[in-house]
């Protein structure tokens, strides 16, 4: 039989006993709906989690440390590969070499130091970090109250929200920082001045003019590594407050105050690595404790990491940190999918039942069709088509139903969140591939369910079937 005739006949047959067939189709719809709702919840939660991580702006960042630095991020990695490549100093030539690697957008030294910031004559101790101009487009700095730095050397700072809270003397209990909108913090702080006290590293010849606080020059040398440290002050204007925690990857060592990178470099603030290098006495020129590398595309992070490792440095990226997270969501999706499929499995038994009933009911009709020339495969295809049509229809209705269920759950959760004075979130996402896959899955499940009834109908003996009243 031709496909068109077949489907026409199948749909016609489905319409005949419409109550039973629509109940079966509703069964499939509910199964597909639960599958879609479950999976879209899983996908939505995953998106929510990765969105929060992505907002940190570090998905495309690789942090490079020297293998000599015992405080590197990947100690195990360091141990295992230290012999594979020669360990190198992370200095300016090394930075340039890394920057010239393919897929690398930029590599900038990580300048960070703990220092004292005075606000309205009260001292506050925190980690300060220089950020490059390219961070302008970072999610953490777009749309914030205030603005990004006016220039690469402007004496300006952006505060992380928790530091802003500290300056204002507001200390909400842990976990409730989000209760205070960042906008409320911006009003009293934007345009205000902070005074940063810091230790400047000054090369030895110049040091005579200044008041030496501490001399870190190595004993035997008149090398470039000799330097003095002078206490300095710098006035900084607060231009912005970031709601997010762009430096969260550093954990406890994360910075809460951000300076323009060029400014931080010019200030020549004493870095923790300076002391260490000078103690070991191999430093001809200043080295960096870490270099941050921005990659063109998050997809390339792994390749760039490998390339940098080959150069003899240690690397760390947020992808390493999210690997276990992604694994967790893969398992979650699997479980949600299995639970969702259970309903569909029950529905498929419904299809088998409906079609077997249809065979009993239409036994005589099958006999007639065979008597006037229908082949086994004609009969089989007809029952297949009926099962498939129910599956297809059930799949389409089910996707819509699942979409609606997800929407309602999302709406309900957001109403709850609003009552708890929390910002609304999207927990739930139905990607197009899920829509397609759910319909195809329902169709295939229905065809499989139709296998037995179709085979049974096809094998029916026409002489016996015709005798049946």
């Amino acid at each position: 039989m031709k496909t068109y005739d077949l489907s026409e006949l199948a749909l016609r047959n489905l319409r005949e006993s419409s109550l039973r067939n629509s109940l079966t189709t509703i069964g499939i719809s509910v199964g597909v709906a639960s599958l879609v709702a479950m999976l879209s919840l899983g996908i939505g939660l995953q998106k929510l989690a990765t969105r929060h991580l992505a907002k940190s702006g570090l998905f495309d960042t690789v942090v490079v440390t020297s293998r000599r630095d015992l405080r590197g991020f990947n100690r195990e990695d360091q141990r295992s590969t230290a012999s594979a490549a020669e360990s190198r100093t992370l200095d300016e030539p090394a930075r340039q070499e890394i920057e010239s690697l393919p897929d690398v957008l930029e590599a900038y030294p990580d300048i960070r130091f703990i220092t004292e910031l005075r606000y309205q004559d009260k001292p506050h101790l925190t980690m300060v970090s220089g950020i490059p101009d390219s961070a302008r487009s970072n999610d953490a700095f777009t749309g914030i109250p205030g603005s990004f730095f006016s220039s690469e050397t402007a004496p300006e700072v952006i505060l992380q929200k928790s530091f802003a809270l500290e300056l204002l003397g507001k200390t909400p209990p842990p976990g409730h920082e989000d209760d205070i909108p960042v906008g409320d913090l911006a009003k009293p702080l934007l345009g205000q001045e902070l005074t940063m006290r810091y230790a400047q590293r000054v090369s030895a010849p110049e040091s005579a003019q200044n008041t030496p606080v501490k001399s870190g020059a190595s004993d035997e040398s008149e090398s470039d590594a000799a330097y003095s440290v002078i206490s300095r002050e710098q006035k900084l204007k607060i231009v912005g407050i970031s709601d997010l925690d762009p430096d969260s990857m550093r954990g406890a060592a994360r910075a809460r105050v951000f300076l323009p990178l060029k400014l931080a470099q010019e200030l020549r603030v004493m870095q923790p690595s300076d002391v260490r290098d000078s103690m070991r006495g191999f430093s001809k020129q200043p080295s960096y404790s870490t270099v941050s590398v921005r990659v063109k595309n998050p997809k390339n992070v792994e390749a760039v990491e490998q390339a940098i490792k080959k150069l003899g440095f240690n690397t760390f990226s947020i992808l390493d940190a999210t690997r276990s997270l992604r694994q967790f969501f893969a398992v979650l999706d699997l479980f949600l999918g299995i639970f969702g499929s259970l309903a569909l499995a029950v529905a498929s038994i419904g299809i088998v039942n409906t079609l077997v009933m249809a065979i009993l009911e239409r036994r005589r009709e099958i006999g007639i069709m065979k008597a006037i020339g229908a082949s086994d495969s004609d009969v089989k295809k007809l029952f297949f088509a009926e099962a498939g049509a129910m599956g297809l229809l059930g799949g389409v209705v089910g996707v819509m139903l699942g979409w609606a269920i997800g929407h309602v759950i999302n709406l309900g959760t957001n109403i709850y969140l609003k009552r708890q004075a929390l910002p609304p979130e999207t927990f739930w996402s139905v990607p197009w591939w899920l829509v397609g896959a759910a319909i195809v899955f329902a169709f295939i499940v229905s065809l499989v369910s139709g296998l037995y009834p179709a085979a049974r109908a096809a094998r029916l003996d026409p002489v016996q079937a015709l005798r049946y009243e």
Binding site: K2, E365, M369, K370, A371, G373, A374, S375, L466
Partner: protein
């Protein structure tokens, strides 16, 4: 429908149906039923044969074997030079579709479908184009006088009308063989005559070979040109109909 009229013998002179030592046995509990038991016979193209016998004589079983609805236990049924016993299930379906047309005592129309859909069904199985199908269906129903009732369901029609629709369906794929199983069994004598006149017309003007099962001797004598008597699955009598003018239409007698 365009059938070349009166091709009463095939070019090579081979019989339309050749049955050799045909048996169809089946078990019913412990007992072995010999529904057809060693029947041999030949039917020439264009013949009008009546299979007579009391109920349980095996005449319907024999007809089902010729129709390819059933398979013999042993022996051969050769229709149009093909032994049905050797055919696959698919080939048998094709035989039922193309070579034979069947009508039954209980009409066997699909009750959920209209007359047009019923008559159209064998064309669908034969994969005839849509446009062509509509014309053929209309033609076939008009031929049996049901052109105005195409969209009616079988339950809305009288028995005679249903049997006429069944005839239209049997002929739609232009088979060479019409097999009728008690075609007038459920009809009153007037409508029965009407149906029999159609069958005779198909035999005479279209040259179809007719095999009709009946238990009414009078009906067989009036229409058939040859009468075969079965009893207990065996052929007991086979002779030409001696009744005068058996092949002429009733009104010409």
């Amino acid at each position: 429908m365009t059938l070349n009229s009166n091709s009463s013998s095939s070019p090579n002179g081979a019989p339309a149906i050749r049955i050799v030592d045909l048996c169809r046995h089946y078990k019913m509990g412990e007992a072995l039923i010999r529904a057809v038991d060693g029947v041999s016979l030949q039917i020439q193209p264009g013949e009008f044969v009546a299979l007579l016998g009391s109920s349980g004589s095996g005449k319907s079983s024999l007809l089902n074997l010729i129709a390819g609805l059933d398979r013999p236990t042993s022996g051969a049924v050769v229709v149009e030079d093909r032994d049905l016993a050797q055919l696959s299930r698919e080939e048998l379906a094709k035989h039922r579709l193309r070579t034979v047309g069947m009508v039954f005592q209980s009409f066997n129309l699909v009750s959920r479908m209209t007359l047009a859909e019923n008559v159209d069904l064998p064309l669908r199985f034969a994969e005839v184009d849509r446009g062509q199908r509509q014309a053929l269906t209309r033609q076939a129903l008009e031929r049996v006088g049901l052109g105005a009732r195409m969209t009616h369901r079988p339950s809305e029609l009288s028995g005679g009308e249903q049997q006429r629709a069944a005839l239209a369906r049997a002929l739609i794929n232009q088979p060479k063989l019409l097999l009728a199983d008690e075609p007038t069994g459920n009809l009153d004598s007037h409508t029965g005559t009407e149906i029999m006149n159609f069958i005779r017309e198909f035999n005479q003007s279209l040259g179809m070979t007719i095999v009709m099962v009946t238990h009414e001797r009078a009906l067989a004598e009036r229409y058939a040109r040859r009468m075969i008597l079965l009893a207990d699955g065996k052929l007991v009598d086979d002779r030409p109909n001696t009744a005068a003018n058996a092949s002429l239409p009733e009104e010409q007698r």
